[in-house]
Symmetry: C2
Subunit: 337 residues, 2 copies
DNA sequence: AAATTTTATGCAATCGTGTGCATTGTAGAG
DNA sequence: CTCTACAATGCACACGATTGCATAAAATTT
């Protein structure tokens, strides 16, 4: 157990050759004779020789790892993104170090530190809800490490980003709600300093305006967690006249919203429509099944990872900031008319 | 951008010292004078010197990474386990390389290869449903790399494992169902060559026997995916007399089962009870909320990672195989009487 | 047969750190 | 004033792999 990996030297000693010859034989260097090559390659196979990654990376000073910072792992959307990142990293032979900030500012700062200590070549990050100060992200850039934000981008930092079209996602959803006959659409949003929340709010407002429906501040609340939803939704159901639709910032809030609406005695979607955001697995198991905006997390992950790897390898020629936008799709199920 | 990290040599050159002196000064070696130490340490701080991990690891030949193979990332239980692994790895200063086999045998084999190529010090693995041949896992052991299985263990390989008490989890759930008045409990299981599936089946059968209820093979089906459930559940609802409870191998199947039971016109839990396994987030949004067996994935992840790290660092003194069992808890909600 | 080219291999340095041993300088002891 | 002891630093090598250059041996040319 814990057997030492065999090295070039071991093979060299065995065959009474120099390490350099062995190295060249394995890499098919033209100056090596056929016999030596086959001999070396056979012995290498026999001993299951694997070049030491560390030594190689040290020599070329080309660490092949990238870091990821996600606010939450146990979360449909982010695990979808992670799967996309993972696939693309594997394709490019990059290793991944994953940190999760748990929506906590201090842990996010520490994650950046960890990743820079590990000397990753680049970082993919989505900021926590609690983050309002960005110097740790600036440190990444100052350190000469590539940085690509995804989804929860950080407006204070000048770097590449991949986002979804939050504005149009929200606009189309609310537009659909209105076209299906809703007039009092409530918006359960998130902290407005997050661009994703703010953009969705604007999409929501503009959809109302398009149909000449006045924006009613009493129908707009910050409610991005189950706990908040449990407080806010019941109170909104007492407004007179009651909202005839809820457009929610995520599926969890939408699903719990739906429960509370039902237990308050309203029918979905006849009395009140509900629309979520993400189109996660839970949209299939609510009753009725939940209409939601698909965020295509997998594609976002792939796109972000691809962009980062291209930057690292100098294949991304565009000099300025690259911003990629992933399209959303409204997936209509049974919680809307 | 892409600035080179500063090295010991850089500091040495700047201070007209040798790299060895600088190294010793930073590591507080007694043979270095106070003045030199403070001088070196200040300059190091000034230039934000970080020792090159690769060089260090090469020197000590002590790669600090561990690999993880999960069948699926976008999955409540496995992401919970991952979160636990991640926490413990971070605590021990280990980096994580995560591979996902996507329930596919070939990808699993390739993942093992990837991880061994990366020369990880140990691997945490949960096998895919498709795997019926284990030589790739044996390769890990033969290679001298530590291996700990979690949840979906592989019986063919002689190594440490962390599992949940599937047998008792199932036994207690079915026992509860019977005590609440059910007599015809259906079991929607998984491929019996997976120990988790087999153990749950035995727990199910023994709970029936405890109450002198005959085991009825027609009530036991392999149905571990939503697709299978959509085929099998409707046919089971036509059995006469109809089952009065469904005990399901996972929450997704349970949630969809619940939907189909309702649309077939049965009342839950009055006519038919439903119980899932995992206690994932979706149990909160079904209607009614789903009774389920909590698997404590986070604790499982932490336990498995701790065990692996102890093995790597020689802190686990037990010589033979270590098997840890994580307790389950039945969480009763509204889909059972 | 001598000179030149070709072929095949080894030497040594490199990447960034750490450490045993040798070396330098200085102070105290005799 | 010389010798010893000790403090402070540098040298050289190691970790594993790669690569320019030198070198040895063989094959070819003149």
């Amino acid at each position: 157990m814990d057997r030492r990996q065999i090295t070039l030297k071991d093979i060299a000693r065995e065959l009474k050759l120099s390490p350099s010859t062995v190295s060249r034989a394995l890499r098919n260097h033209p100056a090596i004779s056929k016999e030596t090559k086959t001999l070396v390659q056979q012995t290498a196979k026999k001993y299951k020789y694997k070049p030491n990654t560390l030594a190689l990376q040290l020599r070329t000073s080309q660490n092949k790892t990238i870091g990821v910072i996600v606010p939450e792992i146990i979360h449909y959307f982010f695990s979808t993104v992670l799967a996309g990142i993972q696939e693309e990293a594997e394709k490019g032979n990059y290793n991944l170090i994953i940190c999760h900030s748990n929506e906590n500012y201090e842990r996010e700062v520490k994650s950046v530190e960890t990743l820079l200590d590990a000397q990753v070549r680049g970082i993919l990050a989505s900021q926590s809800k609690a983050t309002e100060e960005f110097s740790h992200f600036q440190d990444i850039v100052d350190n000469g490490t590539h940085l690509v934000f995804f989804d929860r981008i950080c407006t204070g930092i000048n770097t590449d980003k991949v986002v979804i079209d939050d504005y149009w996602g929200a606009f189309n959803a609310v537009d659909y709600l209105i076209k299906s006959g809703c007039r009092r659409v409530a918006f359960l949003g998130s902290n407005p300093h997050l661009p994703i929340a703010n953009n969705r709010r604007m999409g929501y407002e503009d959809a109302l305006r398009k149909h000449s429906i006045p924006v009613d501040k009493t129908l707009m609340q910050v409610s991005d967690t189950i706990e908040l939803a449990r407080e806010i939704v019941p109170s909104m159901l007492k407004i007179d006249p009651v909202p005839d639709a809820f457009f929610c910032i995520n599926d969890e809030v939408a699903a719990h919203c739906l429960q509370m609406i039902k237990s308050a005695g309203f029918k979905i979607p006849e009395d009140i429509s509900v629309c979520g955001f993400t189109n996660s697995d839970i949209t299939e198991v609510t009753d009725p099944r939940l209409t939601s905006v698909d965020q295509h997390g997998f594609e976002m992950g792939r796109t972000a990872a691809k962009l980062l790897i291209n930057r690292i390898e100098g294949k991304e020629t565009r000099v300025g900031i690259v911003s990629k936008v992933i399209k959303t799709d409204l997936v209509v199920k049974n919680s809307t008319k």
